[in-house]
């Protein structure tokens, strides 16, 4: 059974079984590989996307839940890496291995949508959903603050 939804502003369809995590549809069928597989259990945040504008673990979101909904991945955050967070991420030289950073940026974008000028405590609380094994946390905080300032 086909499931229709929207990804990065474009119509998408999948015939994957309803229980399939959205993550695998995004990565392997739609070839949007910026969204990563990290733990498969909603504990690390590497798979973070937006569903109807709010962050969601794509590894915990089933195909059956996305019919008619709007998904945004890192590739759809801006057409040219011009989102204030993407710019701030480079200015602060945040990424190391980079594997978690799509998820970090998608989480941060969700925060700034809800709260354009978050306090440091709010940033820490919100971003503690996402693991960065390279430990870039201090730079992530700086980058989120910079993006909030410069947006």
């Amino acid at each position: 059974m086909a499931t229709n939804f929207t990804v990065n502003g474009k119509p998408a369809t999948t015939n994957a079984p309803p229980a399939t995590p959205l993550l695998w549809v995004i990565r392997e069928d739609l070839k949007l590989t910026g969204t990563k597989f990290g733990c498969g259990t909603g504990l690390c945040g590497a798979c973070m996307v937006h569903v109807d504008g709010r962050r969601a673990f794509s590894c915990q979101t089933q195909v059956s839940e996305i019919a008619g909904r709007t998904v945004t991945t890192i590739e759809g955050l801006s057409p040219d890496s011009s989102h204030p967070l993407q710019k701030a991420w480079l200015t602060e030289r945040v990424p190391q291995c980079g594997y978690c950073q799509s998820g970090q940026i998608m989480s941060a974008a969700d925060l700034l949508q809800q709260k354009p000028q978050p306090t440091r405590a709010e940033i820490v609380e919100h971003m503690s959903t996402n693991i960065c094994r390279c430990g870039t946390y201090q730079r992530i905080v700086r980058a989120v603050e910079r993006a909030a300032r410069e947006a």
Binding site: A16, P17, T20, P21, W24, R27, E28, K31, L32, T33, G34, T35, K36, F37, G38, C39, G40, T41, L43, C44, A46, T73, I74, E75, L77, S78, S81, Q86, W89, L90, R93, V94, P95, Q96, C97, G98, Y99, C100, Q101, S102, I105, I123, V124, E125, M127, S128, N130, I131, C132, R133, C134, G135, T136, Y137, Q138, R139, I140, V141
Partner: protein
């Protein structure tokens, strides 16, 4: 990136420098040499480090693989410095597999990125290579203009004749260049002076960084090739165990599954989709029984740890001398007094964010294989598949991709994560992407070993520290992770033993003994290697020694470091930064110093403790690092932040335990990594010196356990001796 650059260089004249005698060649379009150079024809000794296209594009090979540490930028930048290249015109491409040209001098010529030694080991050779090509460009400009080469200088990517005001770009020279058969000799004094560096010491944007904020960075797990199937492997729970009875009915019933395959080390699934492969692996969980072959069956890490500790403390238990200075045994016999201490570290897991994976395509007939993977060693990634398939290594084509973290996990000799894909592709005749689940990655982790440390220090009648003795009982690493290196290195297990000594301190007599243990548990170098466990022991014990003598731990260290100025400086400075003498209300400081492969690091942790829960909180961490010439200063700071956070996890929460040979943890719910809320304010100062550059990728990791143990001692009078300091353990120590 790689392909388009290859195509463009083939269509232009180029200047290239090879290895094997450092031969130069001009490659014209469609010539045999060009084909050889591009790796598309017969291999010759001509594979280049540098090629310069007529449009000025300079392509530089990256010999090291990239796992987040920045070598993909730093190494080419060292070449670009001496070449005096315009960095904006430099394109970096991964070097092909060719140890003779690209091998790491720090690892006996293997292509291997580990030990924080890429910059250290390649620094001199890459500078010479850059300088040689610059010299060829100068010679060509001199010939063209009819002037003595001594009158020429360079600006970035331009040769300048100041006398006549003429300039010629490197691209223009490439169009007319004649290249000598033999590379010009470059003497050390012909290399740039530090003051003349334009790139080294100045931060540049890491070459791959822009791809890491928009989803375009390609890791091994992102690869798709035409006709690709998906694989998973349910691996044996214990090393050496093999599948016994396989009931594959449920796995085969998953729609999309095309094969369930018995492998020597597990059961493989091949499917048309990733989700089908993952679901079928899940369906196999209770459907496979395993032989009880393999050493680790029956091993229990808690009990094993007690046995290790007893053996370390019992001086009559046989041990191997690892390192000795002076006559420690004699000094202990003559000691006026003595202090002793015991420490322990648990197994720990790498937890690189990208679970292990690889794509392989074995050619029909099995006479060639193409591999896409993130690997710390291009050498091992191609050797093991060649051996398995019984083919020459030049029939293994490796595409080395970005790694979502390495931390030592992706460099083992048997490349377990690549062989899964090779074996399954060999069985089904299609390209297969094998992905490990996080649970596979934990259950089949290769851990920082279990260790128990017994230390004692001897004093003379005046109270002077005369001798130091460290007995370490630990699971072996090198014989398991790389038997070849173990053998070539004379049977020394440096990865376990590194950091056991007290380098830098004035201790006349020192003895380190290894109590070699092989439990059968899978082990591996993990960020900080043996240094993390061993410096926990030595730096916490140094604190105990100071306190026993009633001397402030900072004062005591500085006294012993008087003869080691670089060490003295990092310790003195970090103490200033942390305002060491200031007492805190409800918080305390702990200090540690380490000479890690020549890099000097010191750290101070400021901690508090919730006595009810046993939870330790680190509020601030100050760190100084002197790793000589800083090739990329901000990246050194970033790596230091990273290694502090990594150490924090190893010290406070990360713990692998083994029951009956089997790993008890599974995923991030029972193997807990530091999150943003757990991380202190980090204050890092890079102390730049003119010394040969040394490592920066993991040097602060071993500072964390001793600084926290020392701070808790200061705060509570209780010594934490068993890392990680998980809340239950802390509470037990307090009571």
């Amino acid at each position: 990136m790689n392909k388009s650059i290859r195509a463009s260089v083939l269509s232009r004249r180029q200047v290239m420098i090879g290895a094997a005698g450092l031969t130069f060649a001009i490659a014209a379009p469609n010539s045999l040499k060009a084909a050889a150079l591009s790796g598309e024809g017969p291999r010759s000794a001509m594979n280049p480090w540098i090629s310069i296209a007529t449009d000025g594009t300079i392509t530089i090979m990256s010999a090291a693989t990239e796992m987040g540490q920045g070598s993909m930028t730093s190494l080419p930048l060292i070449i670009a410095e001496e070449l005096d290249a315009d960095w904006a015109k430099v394109k970096v491409v991964p070097a092909p597999v060719n140890e003779k040209i690209y091998g790491n001098p720090g690892f006996g010529g293997m292509m291997y990125t580990a030990g924080s030694n890429a910059v250290t080991s390649y620094y001199r050779p890459l500078r010479v290579i850059g300088a040689q090509v610059r010299r060829v460009l100068l010679d060509n400009a001199a010939r063209k203009w009819g002037v003595p080469v001594e009158e020429l200088t360079t600006e970035p990517s331009v040769v300048v004749h100041a006398k006549s005001g003429r300039k010629m770009s490197y691209g223009d020279i490439a169009a007319i260049a004649e290249v000598p058969a033999k590379a010009p000799e470059i003497k050390p004094d012909q290399l740039k002076k530090t003051a003349d560096f334009r790139l080294i010491g100045k931060d540049v944007m890491r070459v791959e960084l822009p791809t890491k904020v928009n989803g375009t960075a390609t890791y091994g797990i992102d690869v798709q090739v035409p006709g690709m199937l998906y694989g998973t492997v349910l691996r044996a729970p214990v090393e050496g165990s093999v599948p016994n009875r396989i009931d594959d009915a449920r796995a085969k019933a998953v729609p999309g599954v095309t094969a369930v395959i018995r492998l020597p080390h597990g059961v493989g699934v091949v499917a048309q989709t990733a989700w089908a492969a993952l679901s079928a692996r899940q369906a196999l969980l209770d459907s496979v029984t395993w032989t009880r072959t393999g050493t680790a069956w029956g091993f229990d890490s808690d009990k094993g740890h007690d046995a290790f500790a007893a053996d370390a403390k019992n001086l009559s238990k046989p041990a191997r001398d690892w390192s000795a200075q002076g006559n420690a045994r004699g000094a202990f016999q003559n000691a006026a007094s003595m202090v002793e201490g015991e420490y322990r570290c648990d197994y720990a897991y790498h937890a690189q964010m990208e679970p292990l994976n690889a794509v392989a395509l074995v050619a029909p007939g099995g006479d060639a294989v193409e591999i896409w993977a993130g690997t710390q060693s291009q050498t091992t990634a191609t050797e093991a598949p060649a051996k398995f398939l019984g083919i020459p290594r030049d029939k293994v084509k490796l595409h080395d991709l970005l790694m979502g973290g390495g931390f030592g996990r992706r460099g083992n000799r048997d490349v377990d994560f690549i062989m899964d894909a090779v074996m399954l592709s060999n069985e089904v005749g299609s390209p297969v992407k094998v992905m490990w689940t996080r649970e596979d990655d934990v259950h089949n982790g290769r851990f920082r070993p279990l260790s128990a440390h017994y230390l004692r220090a001897a004093f003379d009648a005046s109270g002077k520290l005369t001798a130091w003795h460290h007995r370490l009982a630990a699971d072996r690493i090198t014989p398991f992770m790389d038997p070849v290196r173990f053998q070539e290195g004379g049977g020394k297990d440096g990865m376990v033993m590194a950091g056991t000594d007290v380098r830098g301190y004035d201790v006349p007599h020192q003895l380190v003994e290894q109590i070699y243990r092989d439990t059968g548990v899978r082990t591996n170098p993990l960020r900080g290697i043996g240094v993390t466990a061993n410096k926990f022991a030595t730096e916490a014990f140094m604190d105990e020694v100071a306190r026993k003598r009633g001397i402030d731990p900072l004062t005591y260290r500085l006294e012993l470091l008087k003869g080691t100025p670089r060490a003295y400086k990092v310790v003195e400075r970090v103490a200033q930064m942390a305002d060491w003498g200031r007492k805190r209300d409800g918080q305390a400081l702990g200090l540690a110093y380490i000479d890690y492969s020549g890099s000097q690091v010191a750290g101070i942790a400021e901690v508090s403790l919730d006595r009810t829960s046993g939870q330790i909180k680190v509020h601030n961490f100050w760190c100084t690092i002197d790793c000589g010439i800083a090739v990329q200063p901000d990246n050194i700071i970033a790596q230091t932040e990273s290694s502090i956070v990594y150490g924090l996890g190893l010290t406070l929460s990360e713990r692998i335990s083994i029951k009956d040979g089997i790993v008890e943890q599974s995923n991030f719910y029972d193997y807990s990594l530091p999150r943003m809320k757990d991380v202190p304010e980090m204050h890092i100062e890079l102390i730049q010196t003119d010394n040969h550059p040394t490592g920066a990728g993991q040097m602060a990791t071993p500072l964390i356990a001793p600084t926290i143990s020392n701070a808790i001692m200061e705060l509570t009078g209780v010594r934490l001796r068993h890392s990680p300091f998980v809340p239950d353990r802390v509470k037990k120590s307090l009571s």
